[in-house]
């Protein structure tokens, strides 16, 4: 970005987000993001497999506390994210515009992001009531089924929806008590990094959401094969890549969740069944007696 006034604008260094901190990739690699005229907008971190492994360690360590947080608290934290995003509305619109999205569409996307956050914040203390059951077993036992988070979720966020696509996939995972590692859009990566700052300012504990930027070709196999990942979400892989993901995922029987051909701007893409996809049903029995 060239400054026209006498003052030189301060450009931002885009880093990644692991364990509540903003490191550069340990690999020291980058890829330049250019505007349509070929000007360099930013040097984006080209995250490595080691960055991914570090993120998984952070996500696993954060899981016990986050999954045990009350539904009310998780709901409030998601609501807080929405508040923080709303306050930075113009920054995100500008960033989307910088990446080649029209001002009108950018404004609509950021609005939709805030609304999606509010939507999932509201589910925090409700989805359990929709999906739980007291089961009328015929023996003398009290028996009930509840949802519990699947664990660490690896998410390959949509490429064509840099902010809304990321939020639409991260929020249903964490509102249910999962922790996650996200690979941001490769072609629209900037908002993901700035969104990490929003998360950071919203009392989301470090490690609950970890955001990497980089090449999906390089990292998809890692996301799918890592043995301490419980579920893999992918959003725009073609059939061959999707096949490869499931083959790798089978190594530890990961839940494989394909969300392809979803229109993220549509209200139809948000529903509690998306939350349920990264939940496990636990059934508990206890005798009834004197």
């Amino acid at each position: 970005m060239v400054s026209t006034a006498s003052r030189v604008a301060v450009a931002k260094t885009y880093k990644i987000y692991i364990d509540g901190k903003f490191p550069r990739t340990e690999s020291g690699r980058y890829f330049p993001l250019q505007d349509k005229d070929g000007n360099v907008i930013a040097n984006v971190c080209l995250s490595s497999r080691k960055d991914f492994r570090n993120s998984i360690v952070a996500a696993r360590n954060a899981f016990a506390k986050w999954s045990a947080a009350s539904a009310y608290l998780r709901g409030q934290i998601l609501y807080r994210i929405a508040e923080m995003l709303e306050g930075r509305h113009e920054q995100f619109v500008d960033e989307l515009v910088t990446q080649g999205i029209s001002k009108r569409r950018a404004g609509a996307e950021v609005d939709a992001c805030t609304d999606r956050l509010i939507y999932y914040a509201g589910w925090a203390d409700k989805y359990q009531q929709i999906f739980s059951a007291v089961n009328p077993v015929s023996s003398s036992h009290f028996n009930f089924s509840v949802l519990e988070p699947t664990g660490v979720v690896a998410i390959i966020a949509p490429d064509d929806s840099g902010l809304l696509g990321l939020i639409s996939n991260v929020m249903p995972a964490i509102v249910g008590g999962n922790t996650c590692v996200v690979l941001a859009s490769e072609s629209l990566p900037l908002c993901a990094v700035s969104f990490a700052e929003v998360l950071h300012a919203s009392d989301v504990p470090g490690g609950v959401v970890n955001i990497l930027t980089g090449h999906r070709k390089e990292l998809t196999t890692q996301f799918a094969s890592h043995m301490d990942v419980n579920a893999i979400v992918y959003t725009d892989a073609d059939q061959d890549v999707g096949k490869g993901i499931q083959v790798e995922a089978a190594q530890n029987i990961k839940r494989v969740i394909a969300r392809t051909n979803v229109k993220w701007e549509s209200d139809a893409s948000q529903n509690p069944y998306v939350i349920q996809e990264t939940q496990e049903t636990k059934t508990t029995w206890h005798p009834i007696g004197g």
């Binding site: 929709i130 059951a133 089961n135 009328p136 077993v137 015929s138 023996s139 036992h141 028996n143 089924s145 519990e148 699947t150 664990g151 419980n230 059939q239 061959d240 999707g242 096949k243 490869g244 993901i245 499931q246 083959v247 995922a249 089978a250 190594q251 530890n252 029987i253 839940r255 494989v256 139809a268 529903n271 069944y273 496990e280 049903t281 636990k282 059934t283 508990t284 029995w285 206890h286 005798p287």
Partner: protein
């Protein structure tokens, strides 16, 4: 060990003074044909390659019947029959479909004695278990899911449920008819048609069930039964004409299936292995807990994916619990599965017995101390005495790996946190057990154990209304209850 528990052991020496007269279930009321064909399109048809394999009675090593071996052209025919039937079955008025599934439940109840006897003959499980658990539960499953057929829209708020198509179902040998019911009942109620492959060592009750399907008047092709071993199962799972896979078996095979169907649109549920911890606190009702441990690991010879195969006992009561467990083990009767006094029947196959024996050797080689009951075992057949290992450590293979036999690994813990950490130190997450008299501790533990089914102050209980299935490498999806419906439906937005 203190003197009091030693004295108890002496008093409970059952070997000499306590004999039961034989009480075998008669077999004159059952019919097993000399040879069984494949059940395809409502008819029993000869396998195209004309090959057969024996089904063996594991208690006598005698063949019970010759069973058709399904190969590729038979699988083609079965899937085609299911596809043809699907159109009509999925469009049939749901309440009418439900009535046919109800009919299966009732006919199974009517013939329950015959099914129970055949189950014990073919699989080796004690008649008390097949009579009181397997067959009644199987019938209950059909009865439960039959009623869902015309109520599915109430199960999924905001969604319109649609059937999937042809379900390929592959089931194990430990609960042959019950696993069939877990698979077929929800599939049919949701409007799918099925091709089911029973395990090669226990195909008989599935083939008898095919008779019920004929008698109940289900349209031809709605239920198809193909028999064979792993290769037949692989042909079925990989067949391009199936829309959904439901598999119960080992994690090893589950992994192969998840890989094999990658890149296809096939939906799948996998119910795989387990290595459940049964956790006994010092404040538990110890005698009840000992019964729970026995039920947890010796039920069905330990051929149970959710078996409590790891005992975690709080250190202060460890000696007492182990002594009482050894005393109780001594009283267990091993032998003729058809005898109503039998507690532990035959190991399902020679192959499985070899696998269990190899683990007994591994346990001893790893330095654990093995304790077996001294009960006599028959000369013929496949048998394994109830066995516990003490002095094991978390990294031992007998602690980490699923043995699928009457073999228990005993560990101790001091604090609740240590117990929980040890319980969760496994790639599996199917089930778990907790024994304590303190309510708050129960919930702390049942919430903390990462597994799909938790029994508190009880173990190995099952019910059609109760969802079953695992976390982590124990599988994907749930069977049973309202949650089990989701496995056989696609949910479309309204």
């Amino acid at each position: 060990m203190d003197s009091q528990t030693n004295k108890l052991a002496f008093e409970l020496a059952f070997d000499e003074g306590w004999q039961y007269a034989p009480a075998p279930e008669s077999t004159d009321h059952i019919r097993i044909d000399a040879q069984y064909e494949l059940f395809i399109g409502g008819e029993f048809v000869v396998p195209q390659e004309g090959r057969y394999f024996p089904s063996i009675n594991p208690a006598t090593e005698e063949p019970l019947s010759k069973i058709a071996l399904a190969t590729a052209p038979d699988i083609d025919a079965a899937v085609a029959a299911a596809r043809k039937a699907y159109d009509k079955w999925s469009k049939m008025k749901a309440s009418e479909r439900g009535k046919l599934v109800y009919r299966l439940a009732r006919m199974l109840q009517e013939r329950s004695r015959e099914f129970a006897t055949i189950e014990s003959l073919d699989g080796g499980k004690p008649i008390r278990e097949s009579r009181d658990i397997d067959i009644p539960l199987a019938a209950a499953h059909f009865f439960y899911y039959a009623g869902w057929a015309d109520k599915l829209e109430y199960a999924f708020p905001g969604r319109t449920p649609k059937s999937l198509g042809v379900a390929a179902q592959v089931i194990p040998w430990n609960f042959p008819l019950l696993m069939l019911a877990w698979k077929i009942a929800p599939a049919l109620a949701c409007g799918n048609t099925v091709v089911l492959k029973p395990a090669e060592t226990t195909p008989l009750t599935a083939l008898k069930f095919a008779e019920l399907v004929q008698d109940a008047g289900l349209p031809p092709g709605v239920v198809n039964i193909v028999t064979g071993a792993g290769e037949t199962g692989s042909l079925l799972v990989n067949h391009p004409g199936v829309d959904k896979i439901a598999f119960t078996g080992s994690t090893e095979v589950g992994r192969i299936i998840q890989k094999a169907i990658a890149g296809t649109a096939k939906r799948y549920t996998l119910e795989l292995g387990g290595k459940a911890a049964n956790i006994i606190f010092a404040d538990a009702a110890i005698d009840q807990a000992v019964e729970g441990i026995v039920n947890g690991i010796f039920f069905n010879q330990g051929h149970v994916c959710c078996a409590g195969s790891r005992l975690l006992v709080q250190e202060s009561v460890a000696d007492e619990v182990v002594q009482k467990l050894r005393d109780r083990m001594e009283t267990l009767i091993i032998g003729d599965p058809l005898d109503k006094n039998t507690d532990i029947g035959a190991i399902n196959s020679a192959e499985q017995l070899e696998r269990i024996k190899s683990y007994l050797k591994i346990g001893e080689d790893e330095g654990a101390e093995m304790h077996q009951s001294s009960c006599p075992v028959p000369d013929r057949g496949y048998w394994c005495r109830p066995t516990i290992f003490t002095g094991v450590s978390q990294s031992n293979r007998i602690v980490q790996e699923e043995i699928f036999g009457p073999v228990l690994a005993v560990q101790t813990f001091r604090t609740l946190e240590e117990g929980l950490t040890k319980a969760n130190n496994t790639p599996y997450g199917l089930s778990g057990g907790v024994w304590t008299d303190k309510g708050a501790k129960i919930f702390k533990m049942t919430q903390g154990v990462r597994a799909g089914v938790i029994w508190a102050n009880t173990f190995n209980k099952f019910d059609p209304t109760s969802p079953f299935g695992g976390y982590k490498e124990s599988g994907v999806g749930r069977e049973g209850g309202l949650h089990g419906l989701g496995a056989y439906l696609s949910l479309e937005s309204r």
